[in-house]
């Protein structure tokens, strides 16, 4: 039997470990718990998300498909509460999961200073997406935010909120910012830089209390200063998350004690990441955690490996702030400094020498040579010969150079380019020479710049040097291994060449495989349906099982059946028919879904045609609960019953569902219609939402509430129901024609921009044309699949039954 591997925590460390295991062909039944209601993402990149330079979608490192492809049983949102070591079972509130090997990767938790008011609403830490979103929500222009803590995290939080227009104050206990990484001179330059961006810095400030009655209102310092605040972010440090390990009586010091193989005091339990302590050392940056991940993967695969901590270097991910620090820079006997300052440019560089070796470097304002210095520190070689010109960097060694690529050209192959992943220049060059000619391919082959991304520029320089003129930055990856074309190219070529069948696409676009694969075929089938509704015939065999069988396949091979309930409204007669069907086909579970309708779960495949016919007979059709297509339109009671309703939201929701149902889309589409801004239908976290107001209808788009939670963005406001219908059908068609397969509306809008979408549907002629194309497609595809498929029940049964024959 396969080994059962249970992992607690889907963080940076465990994600890398699983990846390494699967890449090596490791064969485990993996169960992955995560307290956060999502899978692995690049935590480092929360800062660009906060500042608005990236979206959450862009920092997901492992998506649903990846887990699915590797059979990882994902328990996201499930907190592990107990480890039963005697019986080898971990428990969450949902129950127990047995393990053969257990990995604790719970990271760390932010430290909360125990001052009055610390629990007030409006006080957050900076650790996960919830914190980031709380800060984003609070950072409206003019809002006031106080960040307690002037270290790496606090400053990234401050810069991010400031970039969004908030007025930010940073309170720092020590005499200068980032005192653990910077010396006072660099700390000073940093403070000046931040102040020039409107961030106020208060050093030597001790927080006495957070003030406020219902939520935070201000921060009071020991010296009596009061800073008004709508939001307070505490970023004063972290401590390893060791509660589970403590409760299970594992050996814990400050972190969970592990040996060189990442094993805890229980041989069946391993730990890695920020929650561990290795040889009295704790970890707070990803580079050593990735090494741990490799070691633990090897250990689990039965190979020999030992963890050796390496030097780490720090950068601050604030655009426009260049700082770098590595090694030891404390003053001590026997140490010497080499300092270079350029006050005009705000540049400060300091090298710390001990004997003939470089042991530390601090740089501000110009970090171009950081990799070279870091390399010298790690190698520990004698720098005596270079000493006089050392501070001017590699370009100066052996004569002055002016070529902008010279610095990178001068790096030796073993110089590390990507600190997070420990990738050296030589490895990148080898990958490029091996055919990796786009940034994405280099990332895939080497992992360079795939984590915090601050070395992207360097990687591109290495590419420019290696590839010469043939290098062009920012190419997109191809659709799948069957082709060199991207999704976008394929969509464009389907239209421009007029390709109208899957074989035509594969032939004319030079597919490298015979019949495509399970990843490109469903995409092509969708593109062709969307582009040629009249000419193309749907290829059922190119659809994933759910759409092919018009039901969600369950883990035991049964299906779920969800009839449409227009706008969430039903009748006693429909409920009776559902109840009868549930009885007749012994349905194991009848459940109200999150989409305002009823799910019959666990129906056998052979029973599907019959149950569909019964539901059809009661006037119901498929709810497409399985489709990349219209799912539900949630409504509230609106003017019909509610004393606050401004418009007939129920009626409008039903009309919209009747307009849109049956349409195939790149990914699922959900709507909500609320009767007033109280928004009981949750319209503002749907793909498309309508909020009724006295003067009309506010239409907003690009919301989501799944793995990614986001509020819709305002598209337009109209005054009649007819306009609502036209705008929404037109917008849906725009999405159908342009998005890439499996991208939900919010992902697509993030790529093309809401302004572009708005311009398309605001122009009356264009809107009408989109609407007409949508209706043309609906004239063909708006049919009930159940009725069609129930007509041939024999297709749903086994083709032959040999059990009887063999029993004879």
């Amino acid at each position: 039997m396969k080994q059962r591997l249970v992992v607690i925590g889907a963080g940076m460390a465990s994600g890398r470990m699983l990846e390494t295991i699967f890449e090596a062909g490791g064969d485990f039944d993996v169960t992955l718990f995560n307290a956060e209601a999502r899978g692995n993402y690049n935590r480092l990149m929360l800062s660009p998300v906060l500042s608005g330079e990236k979206t959450y979608a862009q920092i997901v490192t492992h998506d649903a498909e990846w887990y699915e492809a590797h059979g990882v049983d994902c328990r996201f949102g499930e907190v592990v509460v107990k480890i039963d070591r005697a019986n080898r079972i971990v428990y969450s509130n949902a129950g127990g999961v047995p393990y053969d090997a257990l990995v604790i990767a719970t990271g760390s938790s932010p430290f909360i200073i125990p001052v009055p008011g610390k629990d007030l609403p409006g006080v957050c830490t900076y650790r996960d997406l919830e914190d980031t979103n709380a800060m984003i929500a609070a950072s409206k222009p003019g809002a006031r935010a106080v960040v307690i803590g002037g270290g790496l995290l606090g400053l990234e939080a401050a810069a991010g909120m400031a970039a969004r227009g908030a007025e930010v104050v940073v309170i720092h206990l020590m005499g200068h910012l980032m005192e653990r990484q910077l010396d006072p001179a660099a700390g000073y330059l940093l403070q000046k830089d931040l102040e020039s961006r409107g961030i106020r810095v208060h050093c030597k400030g001790a927080t006495k209390a957070i003030l406020g009655s219902a939520r935070v209102e201000a921060v009071l310092l020991e010296d009596g200063t009061v800073y008004p605040a709508d939001l307070v972010c505490m970023a004063v440090g972290i401590r390893p998350e060791v509660r589970l390990a403590n409760d299970a009586h594992l050996e814990v010091a400050r972190g969970i004690t592990v040996d060189d193989q990442m094993r805890t005091s229980d041989p069946a339990i391993f730990a890695l990441g920020e929650c561990v302590e290795h040889e009295k050392q704790l970890f707070g940056l990803v580079a050593p955690l990735y090494d741990q991940a490799k070691v633990l993967a090897a250990t689990l695969l039965g190979q020999d490996a030992a963890f050796k901590p390496v030097q780490t270097a720090t950068k601050l991910k604030v655009t426009g702030v260049d700082l770098f620090s590595a090694g030891d820079f404390a003053d001590a006997p026997g140490r010497e400094d080499i300092v270079f300052r350029d006050p005009g440019r705000g540049v400060y560089k300091r090298l710390i020498l001990e004997g003939d070796q470089l042991i530390g470097a601090v740089m501000y304002g110009d970090t171009a040579d950081a990799a070279w210095f870091f390399d010298l520190i790690k190698q520990g070689k004698s720098v005596t010969d270079l000493r006089d010109t050392l501070i001017f960097g590699p370009a100066f060694q052996g004569g002055a150079q002016t070529d902008p690529l010279a610095a990178v050209a001068a790096l030796p192959p073993e110089a590390e380019i990507c600190g997070c992943n420990g990738v050296c220049k030589g490895k990148i060059v080898t990958a490029i020479q091996g055919g990796a000619n786009t940034l994405d391919m280099v990332r895939m082959a080497t992992k360079a710049s795939a984590s915090c991304g601050t070395c992207t520029g360097l990687v591109e320089q290495v590419m420019a040097l290696t590839l010469g003129d043939s290098f062009s930055a920012n190419a997109n990856p191809p659709m799948c291994k069957c082709t060199d074309h991207t999704h976008e190219d394929v969509r464009r070529l389907i239209k421009s060449i007029g390709l109208k069948s899957i074989p035509a696409v594969m032939q004319e676009l030079g597919w490298k495989t015979v019949g495509g694969c399970a990843s490109c075929r469903p995409a092509l089938n969708y593109y062709l349906i969307a582009d040629w509704p009249l000419e193309y015939t749907d290829d059922r065999q190119s659809r994933f099982v759910n759409e092919r069988n018009h039901g969600n396949i369950q883990k035991d091979g049964t299906y779920s059946v969800v009839p449409r309930m227009w706008g969430g409204v039903t009748t006693p007669a429909e409920l009776r028919a559902i109840a009868d069907a549930a009885d007749r086909y012994a349905v194991p579970m009848v459940k109200v879904t999150g989409g305002q309708r009823i799910d019959l779960l666990g129906v056998k495949k052979a029973d599907l045609p019959a149950i569909w016919s019964d539901l059809n007979a009661a006037g119901m059709v498929s709810g497409h609960a399985y489709a990349k297509g219209l799912r539900t339109v949630k409504t509230c009671v609106g003017t019909d019953f509610c004393r606050f309703g401004t418009q007939d939201s129920t009626g409008l929701g039903i009309k919209l569902e009747k307009l849109l149902w049956g349409s195939w889309t790149p990914a699922k589409v959900k709507l909500g219609v609320s009767g007033c801004p109280r928004n009981c239908a949750e319209a503002t976290c749907k793909d498309i939402g309508v909020v009724c107001v006295d003067s009309g209808y506010e239409i907003s788009v690009a919301g989501a509430a799944g793995m990614d939670v986001r509020e819709t963005e305002f598209l337009c406001k109209v005054t009649t129901e007819a306009e609502v219908m036209e705008v929404i059908a037109a917008f849906t068609q725009l999405y159908r024609e342009n998005a890439r397969y499996l991208h939900r509306i919010y992902k697509w809008v993030a790529r093309v921009g809401l302004d572009w979408c708005r311009a398309q549907v605001e122009d009356p002629a264009n809107r009408r044309a989109l609407y007409d194309r949508f209706m043309l497609s609906q004239s063909i595809y708006q049919t009930d699949p159940w009725a069609e498929l129930a007509a041939t029940p024999a297709d749903w049964a086994p083709i032959a039954d040999l059990t009887l024959r063999a029993a004879e």
């Binding site: 699967f22 015979v514 994933f544 091979g557 086994p798 083709i799």
Partner: protein, 111 residues
């Protein structure tokens, strides 16, 4: 020894699709490729029991519908990083009919 049994017409199985045969030792999926080649595989993915008959057929491979493991239908071996295999059974096409070798099915059930 082999014993081929006529179980269906070729056209009962969709191109790039499969149908299931119930046997004493569990379901067997009979696949038909785009070029009308036939393959018979145990209908139980070694990963978590997914019904391979519901997978997407591409070339002479099938992708499991539950978590996308890919199997070479010639050998029943999982492809790429995944390890595992499903049992394959001889099957052939004769005059538009699908013939399945039932020896191993019978032997197992007789034992």
């Amino acid at each position: 020894m082999t014993a081929f049994l006529d179980i269906a017409a070729l056209d009962d199985i969709p191109r790039q699709g499969a149908r299931v045969v119930k046997t004493m030792i569990g379901c067997i999926a009979v696949f038909r490729t785009a070029e009308d080649q036939l393959f018979a595989l145990e209908d139980r993915c070694p990963h978590k029991g997914g019904p391979l008959s519901e997978g997407i057929v591409h070339g002479t491979s099938v992708t499991c519908p539950l978590h996308a493991w890919v199997f070479d239908m010639n050998t029943g071996q999982a492809q790429g990083a995944d390890e595992g295999a499903v049992q394959t059974y001889p099957v052939r096409l004769e005059a538009g009919r699908v013939l399945l070798d039932v020896t191993r099915l019978a032997r197992r059930s007789a034992a």
